[in-house]
Each structure stands twice: as C-alpha cells, then as structure tokens.
Amino acid sequence: MIVVGPEFYEAVERVAAQAYVKALIDVPADVRGALEAARRRETHPIGSQVLELVALNIRTADEHQILVCQDTGTPVYWAFIGSGLAVDGARLEAAIRRGVEAATRDHSLRSSICHPITRQNPQTNTGYRVPVVHFEFAAGADYLDLVMLPKGSGSENQSFLKMLSPADGVAGIKRFILESVLEAGPKGCPPYIVGVGLGGSADLCMVLAKRALLRPIGSHNPDPAVAALEVELLEDVNRLGIGPQGLGGAVTALAVHVEHAYTHISQNPVAVNIQCWRGLRAAARVYPDGRTELLSQWQPGG
C-alpha cells in the first residue's frame, strides 16, 4: 500500500483540468469512427447533410483547438482508485474541484452551473456538490484512473427512470427504453449514445445509466444476456427513423450501452441517460509519484 503525497493531489488537480478541456475539444476516437460509419450509412437527404456538417465541425474544432459544442456541461468525474493506493478521499475530491475551477478560469469556459432556486451562477462551473464525483475501486492497481464527462444539458435533460414490475419483464424494459428515446426525439442532439441502467435501487439504476456512457462504442456488457439486449435495442432504436438532429434518417443512435446490477425481488428498475453525438469524455491515469498520462481510451477494468 503506497501512501500518496502532495505531488499526487497536485497531479490530480492538473489532469482534472486537462481532461475537462480535452473532453470539450477532442471527440473520442471511437465516437469519430462511429460517426464516420453513420455518415456512410445515412441516406436521408437532411440526415446526410447533418452528418457531413458534424464531420466538418469536428475537423474545425481540431484545427482551431476550440470547443466542439458551447455547452461546458455539468462536470462529472469517475475516480477509479487502485487498491494499492492509500488516498485521502476528501483531498482527492478537493483537487478535482480545483481542477474544474482552473480549467474554467484559464480557458474562459462558460460557467454552466447555478443554484437550483436562486439560479445564482458562481462563474466557476462548481458549486455545492458539483463537480459530481463518483468513486469506484480497482483491485490490484497502483494508480488512479480519472474519467471526465462534461455532460451536456441538451442530452442530460433527456433522462428517464421507471420502477417497472417484475411481471413487466424484458418486454417492459424494452418498451420503456424505446419510449424514452422517442420522447428525447430531436431534443438531445441525435445520433445518440443511449446509456441504460438496469436493476439495482432507483439511485444506483440512474448512476448505471450514466456509467454506461463511459464505455467506448463497440464494447459490450460482459454478461451475454445483457450484451444481446444492447444489440437488439440498437436495431430497434434505429428503426424509429428519428435520424440525425431528429430531422429524419436511419441513424438515431450510434450505440446502446447497458450496465446492470442485481435488484430486489419485487423490483425491475430501468433508467435511461442520453448522450449527444459528440460522446464527450476524456480519461487520465495518475501514478503515486505524480506522473500522469492522458489515456486515449478508457476500458472498464483496463
């Protein structure tokens, strides 16, 4: 067990800021690949033009190093703490918060965070309980992985939770997910990555729906029954014809990712958290001596 020192928390602060900015500028490689495949597949006249412009926009952001989208989002982090590290969780969380504030200040990011009643905006992209930080633990690892998701509001507003009954079965689960995508329609910037949580308690189910968005496109849930549901749901979502930006077309979603947990015998919870086409996320690894690396792709358990 390595007790980490000040250099570790300083490194966390640095990469928390870097990952935030990178996630806003640099569309992940797997998302680029999926968008390119979608562009080749789409035949709808407006849908095709939308996907051409999406490609042009990604190139523009690359070339000028500017934000892909103006929404700086809700800063959400997932910290995967290696079991080989003795970490002060409170200091870790404070370092992540300082990273968000530094990125906002140094890059003139729009502050998108405000008090829920007074609507007062502290102009820092932080506030009480924001950034949102989730903690998980990685057995055997002697480093910290930090995954950053600046969650855009257009898609976050398309979030759904339903406590179905066990008798509703898989058919009920499918119906709710498809109805949720229909309800989201054009509003969350399709083509979507559809994050789905299955099982758990109401709170865990919703967290799992967001956790599903961390996975690279092309990955599948390791449980074969859940993986089969992902494939089936993607086919059905793309039969709806909502299309890019909801103006019609064959590509409504780039992927459906399902994360599951065991649940209560009298429950059948399902949650949907929509991600927009930019699929934005960034990941970094921090070693106990303060060395850091930005990861091109974060894989669960990897």
């Binding site: 407006i46 412009l53 934000l67 989208c69 103006q70 003139s108 855009g152 119906r175 329609g185 909502i242």
Partner: protein, 194 residues
C-alpha cells in the same frame, strides 16, 4: 428543396417564401436569447433594451473572453429550443421576431400557430456544431443584461450562418411533427411485432 441567402432584418415576404426542408444561409445580426433573459422579459415584464422587429434570434449562451470593454466569441453554439417554447408566441406577436434559430424544435400548437399567423419560421442549426458556428460569428456587437452572464442578451454579427434547415415554416409544416408521428407509428409496429 431550395437554398436561400437572407440578410437581417427579415421581412414577412422573405419568410413566407421558405418551405419546410429548404436551406438558409444568414448574414447580418442574430440576437442570442435563452432561459434567463426570456424569463426576465416575459415573466418579470421587463422590456428588452433592443428592437427585435424583423430579428433572427438564436437560442444560445456563448463562451466569451472579455478584452477591454468588449467580448470576443470563443464558442457560440445552440441550445435546446424546447425549454423556450412558451416564449415563441410573445417573441413573434409582441416584438415582431421573424426567425428562431435553434435545435431540437418547438412543439406547442401556439408556437406553430404564431409562425403561421405572424409570418415566422424555425430554422434548425446542427446542434453541437459550435466550432463551425463560431467561425461564422464575426463579432459580438453588443451585450445587454450582463448580470445574467452567460445568459445575457447577445447581439452577434454573422456571415454565412448555416446551413440552417427550415424545420417549421409559416405554412403550418413542421418536420419535427412529421418525423415524430412516423417514429410513433414505427414504435407501435416494433412493440406490436414483439
């Protein structure tokens, strides 16, 4: 599917010629509006400090950098219009707005009626494509209500802003309503077919 090049301020005749599915590129001035400043105008009854007749408004709150007494646009994109749906009628009837640029569409029957009755349209920009949109934003000409930052009232000068898809025209057609109705029919088939 025609392509139009328009310059603000927009006239009723210019808007009436647009048909759903057409493409528009826009030059001139675009006024950035969204939740906080529209709540101030319509719910708190405070008159906007600018003339909106013939205006194109954009649902946005940009990323900017302050340089002296002006703002430089760093990222100007588009936010989801549906949250601002209920302000559409007032923008057209009371202030004479001609075009609403947004993403994700408007749905209230009175919004579609307002476009028909007063001669307005909804122009869909590609949501999320702010990098491209920022290059088409030449300058921030004015800003009002800075206390609402970033949800101030912004006046942008734009060149070739587009492509903008005429998604709701002044003749009662809405692409969102058409695509949505078809998607609902297909959902019925999927669920009915097991």
């Amino acid at each position: 599917m025609a392509t139009w090049r328009l310059t603000t301020p927009l006239t009723e005749a210019e808007i009436r010629q647009l048909q759903a599915g057409d493409l528009v590129f826009l030059d001139g001035r675009v006024v950035g509006v969204r939740d906080a400043n529209l709540i101030r105008i319509f719910d708190q009854g405070i008159e906007p400090p600018i003339d909106l007749s013939g205006a194109a408004v954009l649902h946005t709150a940009p990323n900017v950098r302050r340089e002296g007494d002006r703002y430089v646009p760093l990222s100007v994109g588009t936010t989801t219009s549906a949250r601002m749906d209920r302000f559409t009628w007032g923008l057209l009837e009371r202030y004479g707005v001609r075009a609403i640029i947004g993403k994700g569409g408007l749905y209230l029957p009175e919004s579609l009626q307002a476009f028909k009755q007063f001669g307005g349209c909804y122009l869909a920009i590609v949501g999320g494509a702010a990098a491209w949109q920022t290059l088409q934003t030449e300058a921030i000409e004015a800003v009002y209500w800075e206390d609402l930052m970033p949800e101030a009232l912004w006046v942008f000068r734009v060149r070739d802003l587009g492509p903008l898809f005429v998604a709701i025209d002044s003749h009662g057609r809405s692409l969102y309503a058409e695509v949505g109705a078809e998607a609902r029919r297909r959902l019925g088939q999927i669920l009915g077919g097991g």
